[in-house]
């Protein structure tokens, strides 16, 4: 695990300096680094079938014993899935920005790899302060990616992104510290996940602390109404930045809820569940409706992310195996499908110099391969059976129905609206009469390779999701051992 983080971090440094040798070298460097990191991860695959609550790898070294902070990393099925997803999307991100970046490519790739380092750190950290550290550290390179290589309105978007995440992060820090101080009162302070699990808390304190965590994760997820940073940041970011943002940065929010917020405060979470589910359902519908109203290709995809991440929230707060499995599945499937759509948006912008769909149309005739790919990922994102997103959303809805049938009904409306905006998007860009003034070159071999990889992933997730479910199974079982029943009214 340490090797993995080191490879990514030092790889970023290497990419930064390789620019001096040749401007084309950094992108090869980051491809190699991501591939190497994936190789590191491979030996730990096949995690299915272990007992709930065990760790594939676990490492703990004292860091700041005076403050009870240790360098503690742990890998289980959930972390494994998300780290693997991050690295794969890292490869995709490099491919998607292959010849988009002319300005300081070394620094660009370095920031890309450092963002990945931060994200993987978030997925691995088991000490809450370490987790917070990675949580914040991944923001800085991402901020630079948007602020330096972004589009026309990048300053505002980057700033908004940073301030939203940072402000909610500070609340989480306060919650983390208060939790540790309360649980470890009188004794040695400790921020280790295991020391904080099951700590005795006053119901009121627990509820407030839970809110601190929830806010930070809800901003990142993003849950309605904390999503306003997302359309700006996604739209203004360079393609690789959008791919990383949508593909994995959003997943850190969901991961945080699953790993920390729910197990640390099971009772408070159960009490909060109606609100969370309502927010999730609102997000599903609101995101879908707003997506439909967009003219900007990237903004549309961004709002569709709000909608899809609403399902994750719904699934997590249903507290049953089916729905939580669905949420995890949704994280992976949405990561892949949205990354592909953002890559498509980037490719279109690179060729047409606009993201405005009103100025597109009839592109299928000139670029059939692009059209076919776009159609594939559009229907994937609207939840066509046979593809990963369908499995995920179905599991979430099926799981939730057992608990909150009416909310399920509401959320299911999101599936219909998703179909509308996704097909509408395809119609406005690729179909209709061909326009003479647009003559985009079609996808080349490199882009087709990346697209094919993602198509394969979605098909596999859709047709044979069992391996993913098996890997996540122990984590889900472990989570559900906590007591999520609502206390009797006092």
């Amino acid at each position: 695990m340490v090797a993995l983080l080191l490879i990514l971090g030092l790889g970023g440094l290497a990419a930064l300096y390789s620019e001096r040798l040749h401007p084309g070298l950094p992108r090869w460097m980051s491809l190699a680094v991501c591939a190497l990191a994936l190789l590191c991860l491979l030996p730990t695959a096949g995690a299915s079938g272990v007992a709930p609550g065990t760790w594939l790898q676990h490492l703990r070294v004292d860091w700041l014993p005076r403050l009870g902070i240790s360098f503690e990393l742990g890998l289980d099925g959930l972390s494994w899935l998300l780290v693997a997803l991050s690295l794969l999307l890292g490869l995709i991100a490099v491919a998607s920005s292959w010849d988009e970046i002319d300005f300081r490519p070394g620094l660009f790739q370095a920031n890309l790899l450092w963002t990945l380092t931060g994200v993987c750190g978030v997925f691995l950290a088991l000490d809450l302060v370490l987790f917070f550290l990675f949580w914040e550290v991944m923001l800085v390179p991402m901020y630079l990616l948007i602020a330096i290589w972004g589009h026309e309105d990048r300053a505002r978007a980057a700033m908004k992104f940073f301030i939203f995440t940072q402000a909610s992060g500070l609340l989480m820090l306060v919650a983390i510290v208060t939790l540790a101080v309360t649980v470890g009162a009188g004794g040695q302070l400790s921020f280790s996940y295991f020391d904080l699990l099951g700590g005795a808390l006053e119901p009121r304190t627990a509820y407030l602390l839970m809110l601190g965590f929830f806010l930070a994760f809800a901003v990142k997820l993003p849950a309605f109404p904390f999503h306003t940073w997302l359309p700006d940041a996604h739209t203004q970011a360079p393609t690789a930045g959008s791919v990383l943002l949508a593909g994995i940065l959003l997943k850190t929010g969901a991961y945080g809820l699953l790993r920390f917020c729910l197990p640390l405060f099971p009772q408070a979470s159960a009490e909060f569940a109606p609100v969370a589910v309502a927010l999730g359902a609102a997000g599903v519908i609101y995101g879908a409706v707003l997506a439909f109203a967009q003219r900007d290709f990237k903004r549309l995809v961004a709002y569709s992310s709000v909608s899809h991440m609403g399902f994750v929230l719904l699934g997590l707060y249903a507290f049953n195996a089916l729905a939580v499995q669905g949420s995890i599945m949704q994280m992976v499937a949405h990561g892949v499908s949205t990354a592909a759509l953002f890559m498509m948006a980037g490719a279109l912008q690179h060729r047409l110099h606009t993201r405005d769909m009103a100025r597109m149309g009839g592109l299928w005739a000139q670029a059939p391969r692009m059209g076919a790919c776009a159609l594939f990922f559009a229907v994937a994102s609207l939840g066509l059976p046979g593809l990963g997103n369908f499995v995920a959303e179905f599991l979430v809805l099926a799981g939730l129905f057992a608990v909150r049938p009416w909310m399920t009904l509401l959320a299911a409306l999101g599936l219909i609206t998703a179909a509308i905006y996704a097909l509408w998007m395809i119609q406005r860009t690729f179909q209709g009469p061909a326009r003479e003034e647009l003559s985009p070159t079609d996808f080349g071999a490199r882009e087709m390779l990346a697209m094919a990889a993602m198509m394969f992933a979605l098909l596999w997730l859709g047709l044979y999701p069992q391996p993913v479910l098996d890997i996540a199974r122990p984590v889900v079982d472990h989570l559900l051992q906590f007591d999520f029943s609502v206390r009797e009214a006092l």
């Binding site: 550290l133 550290v137 510290v177 101080v181």
Partner: protein, 479 residues
């Protein structure tokens, strides 16, 4: 005074001796390089002597030698040495005979160190005035420009008024308690708990005077103008050492006299803290000059620091709060000096004008990547992003405040920090502007000692953020 006592305040002796030496050298044989080397040597020798350790004992009723005092003596002397180094480059192009400048810097450092040792209102006043009077002259030293003069006069008038107010407060305290030493004050207040009007008035005056020196809202009005007008190395010194010294002596006063037991006093510090955090951060948003921006940011940081007084008032939290304050002061000093070091380096060698507008750092990433990364680290540390000293400092404060249940203060801290991100990042954004998007392109100093100092400072900021365990351990052991 016995030999053992002299031994205990050896650092102060070395510093004072060095000052006399430099003065004589200037009087008899004016030579710039000698003055600079002697000053540096004096400061480093003082720091070394303080590091060496010594006996913990009261030295006359005025001074208290202990590890706490020695720790901050080391910090102030190192900060003084850094300011000296930065000034060599800065003054090199602006003034003809700046030997006395270094003498003044030494005097100001001595004042700060005396404050670190002070355990009596008389020595507090002596240290405070020694430090401030030297600073008046330092601010006005590059006297060919109007801004420094204006800043110096402003600082002189207002600071003088503040000192006078505090002094009057001391007099009233003496009238009320009959004692001037910190512990004596505490005992007198214990023995004689009657609530006349004398002591509250005295407390208000002292608080106002010292809050002025710390530039807490609403006593902050001088800060931006003075920061902007003063030469950059001196602004760095003013922002870090002069504030840290006042805070150190306040901490000692509060704990020796156990002033934490007076709820009204503690609440006053809390109100000042909240105001400073919010107003400082909000006004910083409006600044286009980086020095002014840092001035408001320093107001906000002093506000964060004032949290420790309320935190220390809770039972059982005193030691942790003092530890938090000490760490915060060290981290803040290193970070502030780093930021001002970068501002000093920027535009050196191009006439007398300073280059501290936001436009001046445009594209710094591409023109001077090294210094730009240094400034980035300093700003991130001020903003409290992990892996820097600033984060751990803020973490400490959150720990102290949360342990004592100061939720209002914590809320202000969160809001203030969130606002703070905006103006720190704005600088970063300007630094990342691409070539062709800006006009102003000031150069960068080529003087290697200054560059080396800047790198060392940033290394210190990172080291304090990543591997501070020895320091934390030491802090915990002395408090």
């Amino acid at each position: 005074m016995s030999g053992a006592e002299l031994q205990a305040i050896l650092p102060l002796g070395i510093l004072a001796g060095g000052i006399i030496l430099v003065m004589l050298q200037i009087a008899f044989r004016r030579h710039l390089a000698t003055s600079i080397s002697l000053s540096l040597l004096t400061l480093l020798a003082t720091a070394a002597a303080a590091l060496e350790g010594g006996a913990d004992m009261p030295v006359t009723p005025l001074l208290q030698a202990d590890s706490f005092a020695r720790l901050f003596t080391v910090l102030f002397c190192l900060a003084g040495a850094i300011s000296t180094l930065l000034s060599t480059d800065y003054l090199g192009q602006r003034d003809d005979e700046p030997e006395e400048y270094y003498l003044l810097l030494l005097l100001s450092s001595l004042g700060a160190c005396v404050l670190a040792y002070a355990s009596h209102l008389a020595s507090l006043l002596l240290g405070l005035e020694l430090m401030s009077v030297a600073l008046y002259a330092l601010i006005a030293y590059p006297n060919k420009a109007p801004l420094p003069l204006e800043a110096a006069v402003k600082y002189l008038m207002l600071s003088g008024a503040a000192s006078a107010t505090a002094l009057f407060g001391f007099a009233l305290l003496y009238a009320g308690t009959g004692s001037l030493s910190f512990t004596g004050l505490g005992q007198a207040l214990d023995a004689n708990p009657e609530t006349g009007v004398l002591l509250p008035v005295a407390a208000v005056m002292v608080v106002a005077g010292l809050a002025f020196k710390l530039s807490l809202v609403p006593f902050h009005l001088w800060t931006p103008d003075v920061y902007q007008g003063a030469p950059s190395p001196i602004t760095g010194f003013l922002a870090s050492v002069s504030k840290a010294a006042v805070l150190v002596v306040l901490l000692r006063w509060f704990s020796d006299a156990n002033l934490f037991r007076f709820p009204a006093l503690v609440q006053t510090t809390a109100v000042l803290a909240v105001l400073s955090m919010l107003v400082g951060n909000l006004l910083a948003l409006l600044q286009d000059n980086i020095k002014r921006m840092l001035a408001y940011s320093s107001i906000a940081h002093m506000g964060y620091l004032m949290i420790v007084f309320a935190a220390a008032a809770a039972p059982g939290q005193r030691d942790f709060a003092l530890e938090a304050a000490s760490y915060y002061l060290i981290a803040y000093t290193a970070t502030t000096l780093a930021a001002f070091a970068l501002l000093t380096m920027l535009g050196a060698g191009e006439g007398g004008r300073e280059h501290c507008q936001l436009q001046d750092v445009s594209g710094l990433f591409w023109r001077y990547p090294g210094p730009a990364i240094l400034l980035l680290v300093a700003l991130l540390s001020l903003a409290g992003i992990p892996l820097t000293a600033g984060f751990l400092a803020k973490f400490y404060l959150v720990g102290a405040a949360s342990g004592s249940g100061q939720w209002v203060l914590l809320g202000s801290l969160v809001i203030g920090s969130a606002i703070g991100i905006y103006y720190y990042l704005r600088v970063v954004f300007y630094m990342s502007r691409r070539p062709g998007e800006y006009q102003s392109r000031p150069g960068m100093t080529r003087f290697w000692p200054v560059r080396l100092t800047a790198w060392l400072l940033v290394a210190a900021v990172l080291l304090l953020g990543v591997l501070p365990q020895p320091l934390l351990h030491y802090l915990a052991s002395i408090l």
